[in-house]
Structures are given as structure tokens and as C-alpha cells.
Subunit: 483 residues, 2 copies
């Protein structure tokens, strides 16, 4: 007795069902009634669009219509007919309605009115039933699928790098400890330290900050690989841009140099954004409106120069501006912002790390397009980046997007054993512990490169949402691990 004989609303909207009897199921968004008829807007999550149900109180019982309140779940039997009202082409004339689940209007928190994003975060288990979050999660899905499709079509292999790891060699940030020890009575060894021999993995372990190093190992046998998995930072950052748990995409490619890496990253970003534009038209149109409304409440000088849709098309259609860090420093030094002291941190010397304000100036004010910054000073970058011949810079790249700042960070990797070992020693990275990483340079080394994309930053950019907590289903931030 299969229950699921429904037609999805997306399917109804995109195909000709006129005069056919169908069953649809979903949640009531609104009901408008007069004494002759009720109009019920039903949503089943397949589309941002509701489907209109026409309910005649002479056919349907009073009790059923009474229980048809916002949030209730219905199974509706009826015929599809051309709509006489404005707002939709077709509608369903209900012959029968089953109430699958009621939603007491006194208690159900999602009544049809405007709710703040902060309030919705507190009921993250229900917010997926709103227009905004339905759209965000459908776009998020499309972007995730586009990532897999892009790499699969190009012959890359998806590698699941470990989540629990004993190495924090990258030094990318504070880590979460993973343990099965009794926290109250941890075993102490003779030297007075925690005896991790008794822990599950018989050593100290933490949650990964990046799958890159393991990704490199796989690339040095399979050629082109990518990861797409969760990564973690135990940093006490309560900002609209940081999560303690987020998803990263990290391709690593044997036989790629810095330029190959830049070409791939640009092509990849354009592909996944184009994919969302093509496959999420209704959702992005809704989010475009939403962003415009939100923008209109801001002061004139804080409004975006472009709307969401415009911004996405702009990224897809324009070649990213590529320049070196050294060139960028010149641009910034000679900028009016620097001269008139509009930057909080003035640019004086080569070698300083760029702040978000500098990145946004380059992207939003100077070049007015996405920027790929390359060849950073080695002092401000990680040990594994390939050293350039100048002895001062490494073959790094950061990709900067309007409104977001850094969306991608990557580099050609140092493939020369002697230079890599020397740099690790300079930076106090234990070469013995990392024997396996160095082995790839000992045996059959080759030029290779890769980059990392924070997936939520991408979703933030494509949905135009303002806070990263609103683009992942159940965000983890300091003090927050609900649901």
C-alpha cells in the first residue's frame, strides 16, 4: 500500500496536467476564505512557488477547512484546471482533503508574517519551511551537485580525507580535541602528562582543519582529485563570516603549476555559479528581491552597487583580474584611500598581510571585478607553498570576490624535497612526524597544485545572504550546538 502517489508541485508547475486528477501533499502557507470558496497556498519544498488549491465549502467538511491552518500538512485530491485568478496559470480544485498533521495556530511559530533571521535561527528545525530558507537550501544543493559534476566530468576523483587526525601540521588554526578519555579522571603518565596511550587512537587527536595534505598524497597516484568534507576551527570568532564547522572543497592536481591552478579555479567558480543560475532561476529571483529589499533599508553609502543577480552574472561573464601581491601593494599604496587615510590600516611597506578592507578596495573600487592575487611574501603563507626564484615570494593565489573577500586560497605546492624540508625546519614543522608527506617528494615527485574553497562562503555569495549562519542547516558557533 504505497502512500507516495503524489505529484510534486515543481512537476505540476513545469508540465501540462490540465484536466488530470492528481494527488498533491504539502504544508499550508496561507488560506484566504470567503463564504463561497477558500484558496489554500500549499508548498511541498520542491519549489519556492506554492500551488493554489480551490476548496469549495459545499464539497469539503467544515471541520477539514477549519484544520487547514498555516503549517498544517495536507493530502489533496482533485483536478487541475486553468486558473481564473491572477498570480498562477493553473490551480487544483479539491475533491477531497486529508489532514495529515495539524498545526495549532496558537502554538505554531511560523505564522504568515515577517520573522527576523535571528528568531528563525532559534527555530532552525522549522526555518526550512520558510521561503527564504527553502530557497537557500535548494541553491546550496544545486551548488554542491555542481561541484561534484564539474570535477567528475573533468576526470577528478572524489577522496574522503580523514576527519579525525593526529597531525595539525598546517597550523591553520585552533583545533577541537577528540577523545574517549574520562575528562574528569584522565590517565596521567609518569612524566605528569596526559597518557594518550590509553585514548582510543593511542595518541592525541583532533578534528581536521584541512584535507589538503592527504589530498596531495592521493593526487600523487590518481592525478586529479578533490575533497568535499567538513573542516573545523575552534576559534572564538563571533562574526557573520565564521563557523566552527564548515564544508571545504579542496582539489589537488598532479602536473599543475600556478597558472594551471588559477585557470582551473576561475573556470570552476564560473561553472558552479552558472549552474545555480540555470537550475535555480525561481529561487535566485526570490533571493534577488529579498537582497534588494534588505539593501533598501540601508544607508545610501552602504548599499550594494549591483543587485544579487547582476553580481552573479558579472562574475560569470568577466575574466578575473590577475595580479601579483607586489603589484597590488603598488595599487593600494597609490590609492586615494591610502592617501586620504580612508583605510584603517594604511599600506606602507611591502610584506604586510592584506586586510579585508584592502581586498574589497581592489575588487569593488579599483578593478570592479573578481581578482586573483598571486605570489605573496613567503612569511605570511604556509610552509608547503612553492618558493619562487626571487627568494622572497611563494606561488600562492587568493581569489577575492565582491562583498565576500577571499573565497579561494591555493598555491602550487613545493615539490622539491630539499627546499621543502628546509622551509619546514625554518618554520618549526616536525619533518620526522611528517615522513609520509615528505615521501611524496622523495619518490616520484612532480609539480602539483591545489586550492581550497569554503563552501559556505560560496553559498553566501550566490544566495546574497548576510550571515554565514543562515546558509548551513544547523550552524555551529561558540556556545551553539543546538539540534
Amino acid at each position: 500500500m504505497a502512500f507516495n502517489k503524489r505529484v510534486k508541485i515543481k512537476e505540476l508547475l513545469e508540465n501540462d496536467y490540465i484536466d488530470r486528477d492528481v494527488v498533491i501533499m504539502g504544508w499550508v502557507r496561507t488560506k484566504r476564505s470567503n463564504k463561497n470558496v477558500s484558496f489554500i497556498a500549499l508548498n511541498d519544498g520542491s519549489s519556492i512557488k506554492n500551488y493554489q488549491i480551490v476548496a469549495d465549502p459545499n464539497i469539503l467538511s467544515e471541520e477539514i477547512l477549519k484544520k487547514t491552518t498555516t503549517g498544517a500538512c495536507l493530502k489533496v485530491f482533485g483536478k487541475i484546471v486553468p486558473s481564473q485568478g491572477a498570480g498562477q496559470q493553473n490551480e487544483l480544485v479539491a475533491a477531497k482533503i486529508d489532514i495529515l498533521g495539524e498545526a495549532d495556530p496558537e502554538k505554531y511559530p511560523l505564522q504568515p508574517k515577517k520573522h527576523s533571521l535571528e528568531f528563525l535561527r532559534e527555530i532552525a528545525h522549522l526555518r526550512v519551511r520558510t521561503n527564504t530558507f527553502g530557497a537557500v537550501f535548494r541553491v546550496r544543493h544545486a551548488l554542491a551537485f555542481a561541484v561534484h559534476k564539474y570535477f567528475n566530468d573533468k576526470g577528478f576523483f572524489y577522496i574522503h580525507t580523514p576527519i579525525i587526525t593526529a597531525s595539525d601540521a598546517e597550523g591553520a588554526g585552533e583545533t577541537f580535541k577528540v577523545t574517549t578519555l574520562d575528562l574528569k579522571n584522565p590517565p596521567i603518565s609518569e612524566d605528569g602528562k596526559i597518557d594518550f596511550k590509553s585514548d582510543f587512537f593511542e595518541k592525541e587527536t583532533n578534528l581536521t582543519v584541512s584535507g589538503q595534505l592527504e589530498g596531495e598524497l592521493a593526487a600523487m597516484g590518481l592525478g586529479d582529485i578533490y575533497t568535499f568534507g567538513p573542516t573545523f576551527r575552534a576559534e572564538n570568532s563571533n562574526t557573520a563570516r565564521h563557523l566552527a564547522e564548515f564544508w571545504m572543497i579542496e582539489p589537488e592536481m598532479a602536473f599543475y603549476d600556478a597558472e594551471d591552478n588559477q585557470d582551473l579555479a576561475e573556470d570552476f567558480l564560473k561553472y558552479v555559479i552558472s549552474y545555480a543560475l540555470e537550475n535555480c532561476k525561481d529561487d535566485i529571483a526570490f533571493l534577488d528581491n529579498r537582497a534588494a529589499e534588505e539593501d533598501s533599508t540601508k544607508k545610501a553609502d552602504q548599499r550594494s552597487e549591483m543587485g544579487l543577480l547582476e553580481r552573479l552574472q558579472f562574475v560569470v561573464e568577466n575574466k578575473f583580474q590577475r595580479l601579483t601581491y607586489t603589484e597590488a601593494i603598488d595599487v593600494l599604496k597609490n590609492s586615494n584611500y591610502n592617501k586620504k587615510q580612508k583605510f584603517q590600516y594604511l599600506i606602507e611597506d611591502w610584506g604586510v598581510d592584506l586586510q579585508s578592507e584592502h581586498e574589497r578596495y581592489l575588487v569593488e573600487k579599483h578593478f570592479k571585478k573578481p581578482v586573483i592575487l598571486t605570489d605573496y611574501p613567503k612569511e605570511i603563507k604556509a610552509f608547503y607553498m612553492r618558493q619562487n626564484d626571487d627568494g622572497k615570494t611563494v606561488a600562492a593565489m587568493d581569489i577575492l570576490f565582491p562583498g565576500i573577500g577571499e573565497i579561494v586560497g591555493g598555491s602550487q605546492r613545493e615539490e622539491r624535497l630539499d627546499l621543502l624540508s628546509k622551509r619546514m625546519e625554518e618554520m618549526n614543522i616536525p619533518t620526522e612526524e611528517m615522513w609520509w608527506y615528505l615521501d611524496t617528494r622523495r619518490f616520484g615527485s612532480t609539480p602539483h597544485a591545489g586550492f581550497g574553497l569554503g563552501f559556505e562562503r560560496l553559498v553566501l555569495f550566490v544566495t546574497g545572504m548576510g550571515n554565514i549562519r543562515d546558509v548551513i542547516a544547523f550552524p555551529r558557533t561558540p556556545g551553539h550546538a543546538e539540534f
Copy 2:
């Protein structure tokens, strides 16, 4: 100066490149030489097949050929010509070879001979360069992509459920603790317990054992969703079937009942296996041979009745046998295995949990096809499974595969608030803490269902490998968190 102008070996093998000049790059598998010519087998990870390079010592320097040893990485320039030898259609006549990275034959551990899987596990950073592991990881990739493609094509949305969680309500097993507290000096509150208010999330947290409950929340707004993420068990199980960190796929569907759920799971499994059969022909042919060789070393009564390829085709082509737990108990009770005491655990009474030997008897001896067992006693299943009208059983399903045993576990979920709350109380599951889960039954509840598939079990089945540590890149098991 882009470096990556190579043609992948897979591309060379599948297309006509005769008389064209190409560049290929990859790692040397073997070299055979006589005084007139060297034959180099090169592999770049794109295919299980090597490409043959013909190197004339009159054209190439002695030093280059000397460095062309197993494991070395080469960039080879030359022309594709029809091969005169057996074993391949075409080959590359080298005009020039660059050594990208040497591999000292005295030190490189992967010399061309048979290595044990145990030894290769110790050098998991290099094992991806072997035939067996190259094949396993390409098949693993194809299966992962097939999972995403299947659900995307059916209108499901991919949801990233949280990895760090404060709820262990499912009680699915021992968990890993996640903390930033100082393990040596944890803060103690007045009542003598650990003061988790000082921890990162201000409460006790652990690594997820399942994304199901959060998946249900999303399904109750988006309709059809799936998860594909890492899950964890801190169980001290040193078996060939258990990992501490593994990947799970968990679809959850609003408006599905138990039968819809069974139909979907069967269709899904057949799809992903068919996808691998179509897209990994060479790899599966290799693994089929490998499994046959391994089988031939076993005693006659321990050999598989079917070869790997045969087994995969068998699953794809046959309708799974569906029967209830109660019917299965009858089959087992009346079996010769029970009567002749061949089972370690004899089946006497209704209500006992089935052991692996019983599951395998049903699949491999009795029905000789995959089995979907349904409607288990409620006492041996989780709280969220829908209670059947008999008051004794729940709408659970387990899918059993030959050689593997349980590959899928799922159920229709209990959508009735009163029955669910009562069952949670009976099983001591805190209903207050789980207010958000119960909210989905309070507001717009509906019949819904879902299942979980352990991804590594699927990869194990499709690759014919014997140990689950050999189908994930860097396995985590008790005492092991290397790389």
C-alpha cells in the same frame, strides 16, 4: 607558462591519437630493456591500464634511462603509433623524456612484486599508486558520484547535517567527545562535575553517530532530502567490517511509507551498482580477477559461489526478496542449519535479534538473492520507528547482501506525537531535550520514512575487497589515526 599540457592516459586509450605528437606524464610501473630498446609502462591514475612507451637508447640519454625506475615520475614527449607488440593497440615512441621526480630503487617501497594488503596499509600514503588501490578509489569515486546523481535526478536535496552534536539520542553507539577544555585541568563546577559551560559550545558535545534526526527536520520542509557525510563510532571493534570513522548516506522522505521506502532503497542500490558496472568496466574486471585469485587460495567450502562481476550483475538483475522478520524466523527455525545445529546461535523463539550467520543463511543459502527483512520486534529497534498495529513490531527494514550482511537499515518513522512520546518515555529518551524533534510531529506531521547506507560497506561489496580498511583512503580504527 602553464605546465599541464598533458593528455591523460584514459583519453589516449579511448580516442584516436595515431600519428599525433603528445605529452604524457605519470609514474613508471615497470621498465623492460634490451640493448636496442626500453619499454616503459607508465600510469597516471586516470586508468588501471598503463601506457607503453618505447624508448630508443640512441635517442635518449643513458642517464635519463637509468633514472627511469619504478616509481619515478616522467614527462614524455613523443608520437603515438600502432603497437607492434602484443598487449596494447598503440604506444608512444619517445622523442624526449624529462625526469620530474626520481625514485631510488633501494628505498622506494613499491617495487613491482606482490605486496600484502597489511603492508600496504602501513604505507597508505603510497598504496594509491598500486593497481588494486587505484581501482578501489576510482570505483569509490564512481559510487559516490552515482549517489549524488541518483538523488539529484529524483529531486532530492543534499543536506549537510552537523558533525559536532550535543545529542546522542539515537543511542546508536559509543561516541567520541569533542572539547577544547584543558584535559589535564578541566574546570570543575560546584557539584563536582566537569563544568561544560567553559567548553567551546558551553555544553557537552560529541561526534555524530547519524544525521537522521536532523535529516528528518529538513525533509519536513523540503520533502525529499539526503545526507552524505562522516559518522563515528568509538567502539573497540577490531574487525574487517568496522571503522571508527565512516561515511553514511541517509535519505529521508516526507510522504513515504514503509513500502515506498523499500522501493526506493532497492532502486537506489541497483542504480549505483549499475553505474559502477557501466563506468568502471576496466577497474571491476581487474578486481574480479583479483577476487578470483584470492578465492582460489581458500579452502573449497569457503570459496564464493559467484565471482565478483557475477555477484554485481546478480544484484542488479534480481528483484530483492521481501519478507517479514516473523516469516524469516519461521524459515530459520525450520532450516536444516537449525535442525542440524550448524548455527552457532540456534533460533528458538520469536523476538531474538538475528546474527550475521542467520542473515547470510537467508541471503546465500535459502533465497539466493538480496533480502529485505521488515517488521522487526520493537524491542530490538530504535525509538523512532513506526509502531505497527499488532503492538509488537515496528515498520523497520534491513537490506541484506551476500557476503556483506546488512547493507541498509531503515524504517518508516513514527509520525504520531502521542505514540512517539510514549515510546521515548518507555525507552528513557529525554523528551524535553528533544523538543525540536517532537515539534515536527506537533506541527504539520506526516507519514515519512528513510534509511541509512554505510558507504564503505557498499564499496566493499562492489570492489570485492575483504577488509573495510582497504576501501577508505586513511582508515581510522582503534590505535590507528596515521597520516
